[in-house]
Symmetry: C2
Subunit: 186 residues, 2 copies
């Protein structure tokens, strides 16, 4: 995967190979992309997330979160979001434009059952995330199955930029035309 | 700077130290943050940028761009944006909420004069960035002083999360109260 992708097909294939590797390899840049959402009062919000699933066949990715985080409120107000990875070694920027579906409760019970015990407390701080507190540790970590959510991002567009030594290449793949891809000026 | 910041002051100081180092050290994660903006038709857009300046005294950061990029159009429509850095080694997420001013022409002539010859072509592809083209190299690189712009981000809030081994800490610093800082639930 250190080959420079020079065709549209190769760029598209490499995007999904890297995303799928990112779901397993904690050291891959694709393991920790950022997710950008429209801010509730304008602008944009962005935070690091952990990529939990990626499927080229279904053109979707998944991220886990606590239902009480700001990003869930932002996605309820506007489900359009962007997932971004900068792979410095490959000099490759990948951006997925997503329509995000929020799954919780019975829809995620099976996935919750497989979340390791030690990781569950990440989904239920009390009080809720972003609440002001007097001391840095002024909160409890309480695993809360009813606050566990999957953000399922349906990929509508993929924008890839490769910054090569000699040449920069940029390609756009759209769900609407089956991801055949076109070149864009970088 | 590998010390774990445990006080509000230490967290705030470290944010600016890291950003300032990022303007000089190309290997620092802070050299290549992402900038998220509100999308023109909803959602959010996000891309890697290069941090060119950071000043704690003036509470601002700067990024260079081509006036014809989508991000400039997005910032003209909504100047609120977020700059994000994930420093994996320090396990530190830094987010700056910005109000972005777009400087060009005479305002940037002095800075343009110091952009190395070899870097200038990044500011004037013809046709404009994101134009569809038939082949990956179907564009010319023409240095264009009149398209060079500085995005000056005035920092309104800084949200920092440190994922420590034993404890996670999150702090918020606001321009409106002189960046004294408060703790938040991570």
């Amino acid at each position: 995967m250190n080959d420079t992708p020079t065709t549209l097909d190769a760029m598209h294939t490499q995007v999904w190979q890297r995303l799928m590797r990112g779901t397993k390899d904690k050291k891959a840049p694709e393991n920790q992309p950022v997710l950008a959402t429209a801010g509730l009062s304008g602008g944009a919000e962005v935070r690091t997330v952990v990529l939990r699933a990626a499927s080229q066949a279904e053109a979707r990715i998944e991220v886990h979160t606590d239902l009480l985080t700001d990003k869930v409120a932002e996605l309820r107000a506007d489900p359009c979001a962007s997932l971004h990875v900068w792979n410095a070694k490959a000099r490759l920027q990948t951006r997925l434009r997503l329509r995000v579906e929020i799954l919780s409760g019975d829809q995620v019970a099976e996935v919750w059952a497989n979340v390791p015990e030690g990781s569950r407390a990440a989904y239920g701080p009390d009080p809720a995330p972003a609440t002001p507190i007097d001391t840095a540790d002024g909160f409890a970590r309480v695993p809360a199955a009813d606050r566990f959510a999957i953000l399922r991002g349906h990929v509508e567009e993929i924008d890839v930029v490769h910054l090569g030594q000699d040449q920069h290449r940029r390609a756009l793949f759209r769900a609407s035309d089956g991801f055949v891809g076109i070149w864009l000026v970088p």
